[in-house]
């Protein structure tokens, strides 16, 4: 059982190997860069959260008493732009992915450490430009920047905001490029493709979308900016241009971008479900290939955003069919996670609570997506709160829950400290309840006809809006609690052992926090992913105990 020996905790790790601001701002260590990202996306998440609370407060009353229509337009636009481009897209890949991709495959770093650091600077530059646009006067086009409103009629900072999004896109291209090359060329000896943790498979699929989709949004925003500045006419029907072309180009990226957000979450959940049921994932290769299938199908369904935009009915039928097809690999994942739980030895630690929450909420989000993919139903539901509720179930119920689950799960590895378990479970519950109370009423609202992006509404919708706002407050509390105790635990949490969950993954076979080069020596992998039997045997004979792990060899 040589391979389970974990090096004794040493005082030198990636966090204290060097000190000072410069050692962080010029670091090439993927783990430090992950923390830089973690800090910055948390700031953007809080900013986006403030906008979300403003939206919910405004919708408490039916006659828009808190802000003018222009302000409201800006608030929901900025909520969308900040959350999508500056939180959800980098959330899991740039933090957990950055930290874990090299560790899980047994590499010292990502293939291009300098490009990795560059991607963070690009992200920050894009963020600063966007924040400048918000401070200068904001933007009111909706996060989709639809023409001709954005090119001709809007009196807000469209070009500056677009520039911010354009710039930040390159950070996600570089992250995707780095992951693909790393996973191809940097795997430790013995780490074959089918021994990779599913987290890696889903990040590989995500990276494919990042490199194929993001350049298209870049050129789209560039064309939009020139159109707005120079009025050339490429999206202007009066000049022979086609506004639908903008929608096609925009959604060619922005629909796959949904999978940039949710696929890494699926990777995290695969880890959580397998590891907290102490069982190999049911149908490993199906789960692995379903990630790739989602990435491929994801590129062929963008037209379902254009069902009522003047797209041909036949194109609509094809896109509708293909959108249904995406449900197949997604369902494969849900079924396989459920089958993994069967007869597993499940422990309800905080990360697992988030993981189980993900499965439930993602299922609701996915199923309602099928309603919207149905042509006739979509005519009724298009641009209503049903759509809003649907994509929040995917993005918040899916991505955010997976992100929080993953953050708790790897927190001991990242910081070397445990988070308080009681508080963790409590806040996971609060988040789940708050989330459902916020967005379940919105399905009903949308079905009844409440359009999105409106702040004046008939009085009879108020009850549901009040429920939703109440839920949002609970959700807000549920997010503030972890923010406090995670920060607290960085200093006062109990010291974490190298492998607090007793798991076989490579990232648990090195000290917590890891040394700068991740492993004492390049690991040689002789086991399959999620192979718990040898670990469990050792536990039975008492060889795999905390004391032994932590004692000097």
């Amino acid at each position: 059982m040589e391979e389970f020996k974990v090096p004794p905790p040493s005082r030198v790790n990636y966090l204290n190997a060097e000190y000072g601001l410069k050692s962080w701002l010029l670091t090439k260590d993927h783990k430090r860069i992950a923390l830089l990202y973690l800090g910055s996306i948390s700031v953007f998440f809080m900013l986006g959260g403030v906008y979300a609370m403003l939206i919910r407060l405004e919708l408490l009353s039916p006659h828009g008493q808190l802000m003018t229509s222009t302000t409201y337009n800006k608030v929901f636009t900025q909520h969308g732009i900040i959350m999508v481009f500056f939180f959800l897209i980098p959330s899991i890949p740039a933090t957990l992915g950055n930290f874990l991709v090299p560790m899980m495959i047994g590499a010292k770093d990502l293939a291009f450490p300098r490009i990795n650091l560059l991607s963070w600077y690009i992200y920050m530059l894009g963020g600063i430009v966007t924040i400048y646009a918000l401070l200068a006067g904001g933007v009111d086009t909706g996060w989709t920047f639809y023409v001709p409103f954005s090119t001709t009629f809007s009196n807000s900072y469209v070009v500056a905001t677009g520039l911010g999004v354009f710039i930040s896109g390159f950070s996600s291209i570089l992250t995707g490029l780095n992951f693909i090359v790393t996973i191809h060329t940097m795997r430790a000896p013995g780490m074959t493709w089918f021994r990779l943790p599913l987290f890696i498979w889903s990040h590989y699929a995500t990276s494919l979308i990042m490199i194929l989709g993001t350049p298209v949004i870049a050129i789209t925003i560039l064309l939009l900016a020139f159109e707005r500045l120079a009025h050339i006419g490429i999206f202007d029907p009066a000049a022979g241009g086609d506004p639908i072309l903008f929608q096609h180009l925009f959604w060619f990226y922005s629909h796959p971008a949904v999978y940039i957000m949710v696929l890494p979450g699926m990777g995290v959940v695969s880890e959580l479900i397998a590891n907290f049921s102490r069982k190999n994932v049911f149908g490993y290769s199906f789960v692995a290939f379903s990630s790739l299938a989602i990435a491929v199908f994801g590129f062929l369904v963008w037209g379902h955003h254009l069902f009522v935009a003047g797209q041909s009915v036949y194109a609509g039928m094809v896109f509708s069919f293909l959108s249904f097809a995406v449900a197949i690999p997604s369902a494969v994942k849900v079924f396989n996670w459920s089958a993994t739980l069967y007869k597993g030895s499940i422990s309800y630690a905080t990360p697992m609570l988030y993981g189980l929450g993900f499965i439930g909420l993602f299922t609701v989000g996915g199923m309602t997506g099928l309603f919207l993919a149905t042509l006739a139903v979509d005519v009724h539901l298009s641009d209503t709160y049903f759509v809003v509720a649907h994509f929040h179930y995917i993005m918040v119920g899916g991505t955010l829950l997976a992100y929080l689950g993953g953050l708790h799960y790897w927190w001991p590895k990242i910081t070397g400290r445990m988070y308080p378990e009681g508080w963790g479970r409590f806040s996971a519950l609060v988040v789940f309840i708050g989330f459902n109370l916020t967005f379940l009423p919105q399905f009903v609202l949308g079905y009844l006809g409440m359009p999105r992006r409106y702040h004046y509404y008939p009085d009879e919708y108020q009850v549901l809006h009040v429920l939703s706002t109440a839920g949002a407050s609970i959700l807000g509390v549920g997010l503030i609690i972890p923010a406090i105790y995670l920060l607290w635990s960085m200093r006062y949490g109990p010291i974490a052992s190298a492998n607090p969950w007793h798991l076989p993954g490579l990232e648990w076979r090195t000290q917590s926090p890891p040394p700068t080069e991740n492993f004492e020596a390049t690991p040689i992998v002789t086991w399959e992913a999620y192979e718990f039997a040898p670990l469990d045997e050792m536990e039975v004979v008492g060889r795999f105990t905390e004391t032994e792990l932590d004692a000097p060899a």
Binding site: A107, K108, D109, L110, A111, F112, P113, I173, L177, N178, I180, V181, T182, H184, T185, M186, I211, L212, G213, T214, P215, V216, A218, I219, T220, L223, F226, L229, A230, H231, I232, G233, I234, A239, G240, G241, D242, L245, H248, L249, E517, T522
Partner: protein
Amino acid sequence: MAESYVEEHEVTHHRALQHHFENMEQQREAGALGMWVFLVTEIMFFGGMFLAYTLYRRAYPQAFAAASNHLDIWLGATNTVILICSSFTMALTVYCTQVGKRQLQILFLILTMVFGATFLGIKAVEYHDKYRDNLIPGRLIPGRPFNPAVQQHGEPQDPHKLHLPEGASVRQVELFYWIYFAMTGMHAVHMIIGLGIMAFLLYFSIRGRYGPEYHNPIEVSGLYWHFVDIVWIFLFPLLYLLGRHMEGHG
């Protein structure tokens, strides 16, 4: 050969080997794959413009033919030849680096840069011609909107005037010119970046950094340069040639 004195068991590291790679081979592989992946993103980036071109060409074939015929095919063809030559010299640079012929490596690198610069020079002449004929689309140049003189029936032939066939409008021609400027402009930006990369390579080539053991940067930059050439190979027929048969050369 200092390396040969080192004991066999001891791993010798090339000074260009970065700490997180196991060996030069892994580093080379990662670099090459990285560039290929980057080129895929470039294809998608240009893809958006190719889509716009396809869409509008199908919508306005007459206007696109007329606008295309107004481009200077000889300058475009010359540039095509020049770029192909530059790709050839770039390939020779890579070869000479691999076999360790440093003088030739530097010579071919300089030749590649000269070809690249010539291309940009000719492109500038073309752009200036368009500027003179008021063919810069929209309000890209303040105070000089898109406003070409249109050839009227019975007027003597004037190469500076736009020959508009039946069913084509000036705004449709403007769409063509926007796509022309967007695509060739983006291509030129890539050329300029490429020249910057080559200046960097030249500096380190003269200092003798690249040789048979370490030629990854040259190879990878070569891939980039060939890609930029290939984009032009698509742009030239799409913008200059397609539709020339549809009317007299004007």
